[in-house]
Symmetry: C2
Subunit: 548 residues, 2 copies
């Protein structure tokens, strides 16, 4: 890729090369000229109500499409997405943050320009904490190489990067020479050979090997070799909450989601009683592993990720998941028949009663309702914990910030998800408290012709916190969610009290394929899913002990 | 103040000492124990829908009450208010950010706890960029002194500070010895004497002295000595947009708001033709001074602020506004009669017509409508620029982020303003785009029995940007703002098309003193106030030139 172009022209072209079709954001004067250029490009601009919504939408888009882009103005835009960028960093989502900035020709003698905080580098310095690569494109001569470097880092590490565009340089010429793609990271061959040999030996001696498929399997697109490995060896597997739906969950070898004492018993027993635990691309996070209720024996664990590998207590920093997994597949490991292996049972038929709806019954119905044409987004709270138990029969059709757990992700996330995967209709599970943070982005869905079905678990407050420490601070104001169509237009609103209401509303929402729906599900404030009950017991004990 | 207490007990007591009555925020598990203690204290907890709303509300509260507090959980809460804290930093608002954090007993071997970004210091390091003092209270022995140091910095610099509370230390004992208040900053006496002497000489030789009262006059409570100085000397004065309403704007010596070519002619001529310009506590920011259309001659300028002083081209870094202004008052400067001095004319009576409402007419009516029992909050956009021309007859009764200009401030800001000044009813002027960012915090106002009157200037998008560069990205989705009561309850909603509609709605809102009102004012998308027209002409030229 040779030749001369402009900074913004090159940036747009490279985003298209990476298969990006949409850019999320809110305009402002420091980025306005770039917005005009975006509008003239093949990229579609998706304006959200607030920058926070754009950040979450782009994160979800990145998780499903391989790269997401959020484009905002200087500081008043950029600093609004510090949190959403932090989530993408923590959960390995390849997100590109593009921010406008004052022009170099405006910076002489350090004037107090609007939107400036401390100095012209404040935003850049903050984003250095939240990204794996950052550039301010002041060195225009080198601009194309900088764009290549930063975008390649996002794709290589599956983490956010930051590009700051001074507004007087967007049309400056920049040339680029050579191949913009840096060589991929590769494992040390000798270390890889030793690690594979040791793994083969350990697996051969193991009676009850179990594999945990972590989120990096999805991020690095390794589902296919993983599935081959599982089917060739007959080793049963679990996922973590963050990596839920990495493979189809009705696979006979699937044990369930492992999350320590919080998860279901079948997965817990198999994982904790395993004599050889193969963790591929999994992070050992707290919520992800049941807030430290996990009981894993490091002596029996083999772990490999994009950051390196380890076996028992020794490390292979130069052995990377991208080589380890195919390498393991090449070892022609023997097939074993596993007692645990049996197909997931078909869901129990659900007969809606004319009874007040409970969380348990709501999720029993969802188990029968969700199908291969949906992507499920679960917001932190009981929506997320209860949803972990659902059977997702379509790979990568479940999104939840199960490690960073920032409330307010799911509604704007559904916008990003449906644009990334127009073949899937988003089903959003969100608490009333979380909806009040970002749920008005539903109007963005209306604007762009999207059709998420939003189920609000309305229990009058922050239900996850009540069992830990309760007070008026856990209450939220009453919103009549089903009346939102009065304000934002073409949305179907439903008010749900009984099981029958819920069933009818979801069926009605299904038939209206071209508009969003919102279901206000009235729940008892003290009704919790079994998973949340187990989690809050664990967390509550932690909070109580920590105060002493 | 001696004796032993707990970290959280001491923090709460010191906030009360500083006259804080309310704390704004959203709870989360890392701060939950402190929330419980807040609920048991005399402080009232004001929960907002989203942390962003809490940040803006606390900023407005700080501006009116001298100290504001926002209290959030770790990262997913704290990083959501990076932008609102940046605004407080840029505009000198004394805001205390309190964030929960993982307990020290949870941090062994650097585990991946939920809400963690890169390492345990990420949030602290980010807030160091946005505050004048920050502490993580890990050194409990020293905890009380740290709290004193940080709170004193907020009050001394009138800028944000950051306190991070590990959740296992909130009830740890901390002792404090001695006087927690550090000595106030003081000017060097010799430098002060020289600066005052020089100022007196320059004023004596000046024919047309003019004073600009900047925002620090409000922040440091210097309105009274300023008024004495003005009335003793007869020097006419102007304000900046940020410091608008520092003194009553119907004062005979008031020239108007000075903002270069953007402001009204009377103030501009007087300021730019002055042969001795006395700037007290004013920042030379761009929007504040009409985006560099200001023409000020530094050779004729005397400037004093909390950071130091200067006369013409020489500096007095050790001469501070807090000493300079009283010092000047002590000089017994002669009184002069000023041609410019005449009382502000009473507003023209407004006769509402049955005509479509325009921005010009809307503000003509507001000029007759606003009274001493209101505080006006103007969101960035035409709301802010047009409001600059209104006559505010009550000191400190106008709030607008006129330097940092972060959209979405005004609705949550009204919550903070009414709690800080329950004698004043907030009148909010906000664009439709800005309302869609944070306007749902109106439900927080309902929850806490507040009664802002919210006027939405609905012109279908980002009206400030259209004259610069227009495109679909400047459109926002249609919301029927007047139907919001359907969703959030006890609010009066009005749909406004004509002047008569507007007058009737405002009068009706006035009579309902105990609930909020929202007025959806339908404006022509191309209708701009004269002030915005002047500003966007200047900005548009800037953007066009910068792209070349």
């Amino acid at each position: 890729m040779k030749g001369e172009t402009t900074v913004s022209g090159y940036l747009i072209r490279r985003l298209i090369d990476y298969d990006v079709d949409h850019v999320f954001g809110v305009p402002g004067d420091y980025i306005l000229d770039f917005y005009r250029q975006l509008e003239e490009s093949p990229l579609q601009m998706i304006n959200t109500c607030d920058e926070q919504g754009a950040g979450f939408a782009a994160d979800a888009y990145a998780r499903l499409k391989g790269l997401g882009v959020v484009c905002v103005t200087y500081c008043v835009g950029g600093l609004k997405i510090a949190n959403t960028t932090a989530q993408a960093f923590a959960e390995k989502s390849p997100l590109v943050v593009i921010s406008g900035a004052p022009g170099l020709n405006e910076r002489h003698r350090n004037p107090l320009l609007h939107h400036k905080v401390r100095d012209f580098d404040t935003q850049l310095n903050i984003f250095r904490h939240l990204t794996v690569a950052a550039t301010d494109l002041i060195d225009v001569e080198n601009g194309c190489c900088e764009i290549d470097r930063v975008l390649a880092a996002a794709v290589r590490h599956k983490q956010p990067v930051y590009i700051e565009l001074p507004r007087d340089l967007t049309e400056a010429a920049c040339s680029c020479s050579g191949d913009p793609s840096p060589p991929a990271a590769a494992s040390d061959p000798d270390a890889l050979h030793e690690a594979l040999t040791e793994t083969v030996q350990r697996l051969a001696q193991a009676q009850r090997p179990v594999l945990i498929a972590g989120i990096e399997i999805q991020r690095f697109g390794l589902q296919q070799p993983l599935l081959q490995l599982l089917e060739a060896t007959g080793i049963p597997f679990a996922t973590t909450p963050l990596s839920k739906s990495t493979l189809c969950e009705d696979h006979p070898l699937f044990l369930g989601v492992y999350e320590g004492a919080v998860g279901k018993e079948k997965a817990r027993q198999a994982v904790e009683q395993s004599d050889c635990l193969l963790m591929l691309g999994a992070f050992m996070t707290d919520v992800n592993l049941g807030i430290f209720t996990a009981k894993l024996d490091q002596a029996l664990t083999i772990s490999s990720s994009s950051d390196g590998s380890s076996i028992a207590f020794h490390q292979y920093p130069e052995v990377l998941l991208g080589d380890f997994l195919p390498g393991l597949l090449d070892q022609n490991l023997p097939h074993r028949s596993t007692a645990a292996a049996k197909p997931t049972a078909a869901p129990q038929p659900f007969e809606a009663q004319d009874e007040p709806i409970t969380i348990r019954r709501l999720f029993e119905y969802l188990e029968t309702f969700i199908d291969d044409h949906m992507v499920l987004l679960a917001d932190p709270g009981d929506a997320m914990f209860a949803a972990t138990d659902l059977t997702i029969r379509h790979p990568a059709a479940f999104l939840s910030p199960a490690y960073y757990t920032s409330m307010g992700f799911a509604v704007p996330g559904a916008i990003g998800a449906q644009l990334a995967r127009p073949d899937l209709r988003p089903l959003v599970l969100v608490g009333d408290g979380a909806f009040q943070m970002t749920g008005m982005e539903l109007s963005t869905a209306v604007r762009f012709g999207l059709s998420p079905i939003v189920v609000v678990l309305n229990n009058g407050g922050y239900g996850t916190e009540r069992p830990m420490t309760d007070g008026r601070f856990n209450d939220v104001p009453v919103w009549r969610f089903s009346r939102l169509p009065e304000v934002i237009g073409a949305v179907q609103g439903f008010e749900i009290f009984s099981e029958k209401d819920f069933e009818q509303a979801l069926q009605a929402a299904l038939t209206h394929t071209d508009s969003p729906a919102i279901l206000d599900v009235h729940l008892d404030p003290h009704d919790h899913s079994p998973a949340l009950k187990r989690l809050t017991d664990a967390l509550g004990a932690k909070v109580r002990n920590s105060g002493k």
